[in-house]
């Protein structure tokens, strides 16, 4: 198998990591909430796509029209109802991070428990676009390539919004210095709510895409939260382009490892990369000191 094929396969997987990470970064880097229940929304969207597909034959990509806004709204509510009191109370960023970790850790169990009750603990799987697709003469699964393509689209949209609009400028100001942002007239609280909800919308899109090629159950959320956390720290907190590139790198590293070294070590590779970045560049590959 030529190296380019291995790298391409890794990048396709990495695109999904990038999407999951960008959403997490919106919540962590902009709204300053470490949301441990992040992956549970991915799980919820995956179930939504599954039920829409199996019960009503609704195309999962079309189904996003429903699941993405609903998850956006749900996350906005989480921010307003659960997080706002913590934000008000917190004196420092560290205190807010500590408090939100505890609160969202609880939310994680509530959501997972509710999903287990409602959907049972069974593994779910459905077949959508499992057909082969030829890219430069190499065969990949169409659903994985679609996930990669949509992840790129979402990343570009986020990038344009952040860098080319007034609203995006305000968000970036929020990421760099919330106090300063408030001083120049930015409504920090409502903007944070929108950033948090936007992260939720992205993870709903990711959940839908994941459900087209991965088996899932109510317990899968935490894996994605952890992966997102690793990618965000690697790419730099608050830096969306960093998350995108770090996500791709992680996918490629896993693929190279599974082919050239050992499939069993792919998880270790993620954490090894994470450690190296933490030691060499504690602010992340693209983080500003």
């Amino acid at each position: 198998m030529p190296a380019i094929e291995v790298i391409l396969g890794g990048a396709i997987l990495g695109g999904l990591y990038a999407l999951v990470a960008i959403g997490f970064n919106l919540q962590f880097g902009m709204a300053r909430i470490v949301n441990l229940a992040y992956g549970e929304f991915l799980m919820g969207a995956a179930f939504a796509a599954f039920w829409m597909f199996t019960l009503a034959s609704i195309n999962p990509i079309l189904g996003m029209v429903l699941s993405v806004p609903v998850t956006f709204g749900a996350n906005w509510l989480v921010y307003r109802v659960l997080m706002t009191p913590l934000v008000r109370r917190a004196r420092t960023r560290e205190q807010l991070e500590g408090d939100t970790i505890l609160a969202t850790f609880g939310l994680l169990f509530v959501l997972r428990g509710a999903a287990t009750l409602a959907f049972s603990a069974d593994n779910r799987f459905y077949n959508y676009l499992g057909e082969p697709l030829n890219i430069f003469g190499f065969t990949f699964a169409a659903n994985r390539v679609l996930a990669f393509a949509l992840a790129c689209v979402f990343a570009v949209v986020i990038f344009i919004v952040l860098n080319r609009t007034r609203f995006g400028t305000a968000l970036r100001a929020l990421a760099i210095d919330p106090v300063g942002a408030e001083l120049v007239g930015i409504d920090v609280r409502s903007l944070s709510g929108i950033a948090f909800a936007g992260g939720g919308a992205l993870v709903a899109a990711a959940g839908t895409l994941v459900s087209t090629f991965l088996t899932f159950n109510p317990a899968i959320g935490i894996e994605f939260t952890m992966k997102a956390l690793v990618v965000v720290i690697m790419g730099g907190v608050g830096n969306m382009a960093g998350s995108f590139i770090a996500g791709l790198l992680l996918g490629i590293a896993e693929s190279l490892c599974s082919y050239y070294v050992d499939s069993g070590l792919t998880l270790a590779v993620a954490y090894a990369l994470f450690l190296i970045v933490l030691v060499v560049r504690p602010r992340g590959l693209f983080g500003t000191p």
């Binding site: 287990t116 082969p132 088996t215 499939s263 069993g264």
Partner: protein, 408 residues
């Protein structure tokens, strides 16, 4: 002659007690219900397995028995219904499970305890079942040292045979086609990176090498791997006619989906846990024709189809083609043993389970004299939309193997 006499005696007893049953004195002695309890993984990593294989069987059995009015217990001369007196969540933690099993037996004092899910958990609780003298009808468990274990724990019964049995069943199929010159001796083998994968691939590997096979690709991948495209591409390039994966349900689905996408069509495609799931056939539809997997059952046995339809209707879970019907069968044995022993005395029921067989079940007759269900189907194959047993070939009811696997 002897049996006949015994039967007449039994019938006479039943008849006599039957008349007594109408009398209020005798009925007062009978317990209101047979109290059943269990601790199983309702949450955590093991919950999927328990929810798929084990719990629907428990629910269906309780309903079936109670719809029929209960279990006939001779010493009370009447049918007594089942009552699930305690159902606990071990949260997929062995320590919690041990505590709950103690509670079921020492505080709740239920009449019978149904086993937990997974090999590790069943072995972990075996000493507690033995200490309190509860029969342990372990279904979702198999180990390489079953013979020693049942000696050590006289209350323990194994319903799945040792791993080598499953490997042997597959190798028998491979040997047949290899000696006919239709299959090369190369094997591509993947395994999931946990205890199950390690034990299975070691067991299978030893058997394969002993039969002169060359394992040209052997790789282990982590549980919960997000992509196995490289592994399938490597298997495809390996030139092996036989693909074996000691896999768990999520990766069984992923390996199959990826093999379809990549147009990987080895002559034998074998995956492990999950292959027998109804959802497997439901998802890949007619593409599964010819896919081989661990386990298997004979859907044409008396009662088997009826059981399948009932479980689907009552619990919403279609049984898999391996351990689900065995779970139900193990409970049928418990029920028949109580009836045959005519008592709720656990020691007598235990003796009856071991020595009163062979028992008629939805997976055929089962004899538990050695505390191990020694004769069973080891390998199955999807044929015409059903996962049926194909090996060992001398097992009654197994189907001829479809070879080579038709292209996806």
């Amino acid at each position: 002659m002897h049996t006949r006499l015994r039967r007449i005696a039994a019938a006479a007893t039943v008849a006599t007690l039957g008349t007594f049953a109408a009398a209020p004195v005798s009925a007062a002695d009978a317990p209101k219900s047979i109290r059943i309890g269990y601790a199983i993984s309702l949450s955590g990593v093991n919950a999927q397995g328990a929810a798929t294989t084990t719990l629907p069987g428990y629910d269906l059995w309780v309903k079936d028995v109670n719809d029929a009015g209960g279990i006939m217990v001779k010493e009370f001369g009447k049918k007594i219904p089942l009552e699930v007196a305690a159902k606990y969540d071990d949260t997929s933690s062995a320590e919690t499970l041990l505590r709950l099993e103690e509670k079921l037996m020492s505080q709740d004092k239920v009449d019978f305890v149904l086993p937990p899910w997974s090999t590790g958990f069943n072995l972990a609780v075996a000493p507690i079942f033995a200490k309190y003298g509860y029969p342990q009808l372990a279904v979702t468990a198999n180990a390489n040292d079953e013979v020693q274990l049942v000696k050590q724990f006289p209350t323990l019964f194994f319903f799945l045979n040792q791993p080598a049995h499953f490997g042997g069943a597959l190798i028998e199929v491979l040997n047949k086609f290899k000696s006919a010159g239709q299959l090369n001796n190369k094997i591509a083998m993947l395994s999931v990176g946990d205890q199950f994968g390690a034990e299975m691939s070691a067991g299978f590997g030893a058997g394969l090498k002993a039969s002169g096979y060359d394992i040209v690709l052997q790789k282990s991948y982590p549980l919960g791997a997000a992509d196995l495209t490289n592994e399938i591409k490597e298997a495809k390039a390996s030139g092996a006619d036989t693909f074996i994966a000691a896999s768990y349900p999520p990766d069984t689905f992923m390996l199959t989906g990826t093999a379809i996408t990549q147009g990987y069509n080895p002559k034998v495609f074998y995956t492990a846990v999950g292959t027998a799931f109804a959802e497997y056939g439901g998802n890949f539809k007619d593409k599964v024709q010819g896919v081989m997997g661990i386990g298997g059952w004979d859907p044409n046995l008396p009662g088997a189809q009826d059981y399948y339809k009932r479980q689907l209707a009552v619990t919403g879970h279609a049984p898999d083609g391996w351990a689900s019907p065995v779970t139900y069968a193990s409970l049928q044995i418990l029920q028949q043993a109580i009836e045959k022993a005519g008592t709720l005395d656990r020691k007598k029921v235990l003796d009856t389970i071991a020595n009163g067989g062979p028992w008629n079940t939805v997976v055929g007759p089962i004899d538990l004299k050695t505390h191990i269900r020694e004769h069973q189907i080891g390998a199955g194959q999807w044929q015409g939309g059903q996962f049926v047993g194909v090996s060992p070939s001398d097992f009654p009811g197994v189907k001829p193997v479809i070879f080579p696997k038709p292209a996806w």
